[in-house]
């Protein structure tokens, strides 16, 4: 009960910061101010809000859950590769998009694509694909909020009520505060999570009787020792994961955030400290997730381990439905919460729970990004702004925020969470496959709108095909993958316990490669944009 009260207090603080604390002086509201905070964020807020925007419920709760089941490999798979690829993409792509946005007034990626490739409806196709891939994040954010409040209150706050509270709080500060409110809330949340992540590590470590004992004990238990190494993961799978962080810069909410910096210099600190911030959050989460396997005094964790053991020993003889049910039981997304409940004092569990809520509520920037995209790429592009004015455009954005939040909440109440977790996996691959659009637009004069269309259609088709394939072919029991299609002795397509493999790689690898090849070949066969457009985007190469 006390932790839940602390979390509610935290939500009240967030609401205050988002709505009132950093409101701009009164005056005529401009779209650029509401959606991009007038491109005026300072270095501290820019670093922490950009980082916080990327740290979703999936990243925090999912990382410890993944580590609970898969071991220390989680950090190398998801965190350290992101610590290299994401700041590199911000350095090369984020800075250029910021400069173009400043120069030409772009507020969304699609606006830039339309201008760069002299297209209209192709931009709409890109908008639709981006929007469809973004919606599951918003839904899972609300689900995460409901689950967290439910767990932290010991069931006192029902899931539907917790989800409603989180949806209302997020919707309110995005509605009233726009980008400025969202950025300051994200900054506050990131600082909170960075602080309490370290505290959680120490408190749980002490509660478990020290990590040295736990580590030694794990290594001496044959069933758990592999979790301390990477022997259960193939090197090709590990390599494949380095393609996933390409998705970060292609996410509209990240790219739109890049437009909010006051000066380009503000990217410097972000680029340098990004790998350290990722390490500071992920290392404790991953380590605690792994060490949770040694905990013997939490019945829920023992039940998960038992489900994992049954799946490994009897999974092959079970029906796919029974296997899925056991997978759900063995999943460790609530591991951190369980550890906190067991080992942290009530008041601290509340503060740490608030830190976790901070990560869960990262859906705010996605809601705002969708609203910005809708009002700029659809409403304004198809004449709404010209006919009704900028004031109506902002109100349309606000109405969109309410509608998308209500829709996400309604879906969150009805649909099983696993569906959206899967959707997010597809979305990561999908956005990674869309990243060649940005590279081509910014670095290759020869790219064309038809190349962009081919890349976008391929991405959508590949995401749907992967989803249909994984739905039609049930995941096998833990162990070797099931071969679906081979050619000349090569294992082309296999179904693995965790997904799909193409030539041993995760689908994201062929998706990105084919996407880039389509951009190159189709662009070479089609007409380039006018010289005046090329001069606009590549001034130094045309002097």
């Amino acid at each position: 009960m006390i932790p839940a009260i602390v979390v509610f207090l935290y939500l009240a603080v967030v609401l205050y910061i988002g709505i009132f604390a950093f409101r701009r002086a009164k005056g005529k509201e401009k779209a650029e101010d509401y959606f991009l905070a007038s491109r005026s964020l300072g270095p501290f807020v820019f670093l922490f809000s950009l980082f916080g925007t990327n740290m979703t419920a999936f990243a925090i709760l999912g990382s410890s859950g993944h580590a609970f089941s898969n071991g220390v490999v989680t950090f190398g798979l998801m965190a350290s590769s992101s610590g290299l690829v994401i700041p590199l993409s911000i350095f090369f792509i984020g800075t250029r998009v910021w400069a173009l946005g400043k120069k030409h007034g772009f507020m969304t990626p699609v606006q830039m694509f339309r201008d760069r490739w002299e297209c209209g409806h192709i931009g709409t196709v890109i908008f639709v694909v981006q929007a469809v891939l973004l919606v599951p994040y918003i839904i899972i954010g609300i689900m995460g909020g409901g689950t967290t409040l439910n767990t932290i209150s010991g069931g006192w706050v029902p899931f539907w009520f917790g989800g409603a509270i989180v949806a209302m709080v997020v919707m309110s500060y995005v509605f009233f505060g726009g980008m400025r409110g969202t950025a300051w809330v994200n900054t506050f949340q990131t600082v909170l999570f960075l602080t309490f992540g370290a505290v959680a590590l120490v408190v749980i470590g002490v509660g478990m009787g020290g990590f040295s004992n736990a580590a030694q004990s794990m290594l001496s238990t044959p069933a758990l020792a592999p979790l301390m190494t990477r022997e259960r993961i193939s090197p090709l799978y590990f390599f494949s994961y380095t393609f996933i962080p390409l998705s970060a810069i292609a996410f509209p909410h990240i790219l739109i955030f890049c437009l909010t910096a006051r000066k380009m210099n503000q990217f410097k600190k972000t680029v340098i400290f990004y790998p350290i911030c990722i390490m500071a959050i992920w290392l404790p989460c991953v380590f605690l997730g792994v060490m949770a396997n040694r905990v013997t005094d939490i019945p829920e964790i023992r039940a998960k381990q038992e489900a994992r053991r049954v799946l490994a020993t009897q999974g092959k003889t079970m029906t796919p439905e029974a296997r899925d049910e056991l997978r759900d039981k063995a999943a460790g997304d609530d591991i951190i919460m369980l550890l906190l409940k067991q080992y942290a004092p009530f008041w601290l569990a509340g503060l740490l729970g608030a830190g976790i809520m901070a990560a869960v509520m990262a859906s705010d920037s996605q809601i705002l990004a969708l609203s910005t995209m809708f009002t700029e790429d659809v409403f304004a592009f198809y004449g709404g702004k010209r006919r009704f004015g900028e004031g109506v455009q902002i109100q349309t954005g606000r109405i969109f925020i309410v509608l998308i939040t209500l829709f996400a909440y309604a879906v969150a109440l009805r649909a099983p969470e696993t569906i959206f977790e899967l959707a997010i996996q597809y979305a990561f691959s999908g956005y990674a496959a869309l990243s060649p659009l940005l590279v081509a637009a910014l670095f290759w004069k020869g790219s064309t709108k038809w190349g962009a269309l081919a890349t976008t259609v391929w991405t959508a088709a590949a995401v749907v095909a992967t989803a249909v394939f994984q739905h039609s072919v049930p995941a096998p029991a833990p162990g070797p993958p099931v071969l679906i299609w081979s050619l000349g002795g090569w294992e082309v397509l296999t179904r693995t316990p965790g997904g799909t493999a193409v030539f041993g790689f995760m689908p994201v690898v062929p998706m990105v490669i084919v996407s880039a090849l389509l951009m190159i070949t189709v662009s070479m066969l089609t007409r380039k944009p006018n010289q005046s457009t090329l001069v606009k985007y590549f001034p130094s190469q045309n002097q």
Binding site: V45, V72, W98, K103, L219, M228, T229, R230, R262, M279
Partner: protein, 79 residues
Amino acid sequence: MKRILLVIAVITLYVLHQDFWNWRTAYPLVFGFVPIGLFYQGCFSVAAALLMWLLVTFAWPGHLEREIGPTETEEEAPK
């Protein structure tokens, strides 16, 4: 020359992410509890931050800002 060295540094770090030599062992346990593979990947994150510092210091695309002209907006960030 500076650019080539930075490109080589980026590629080298990307390759070093695949530390296959730590694949099947947890030993030595750093600080008595951190498996070597996890410690290596933590150090990799620090190396990535250093690489970013090198890029920012020696390859900063300052021309992009100069092409825009003065970049101060009408208002300062909230204090």
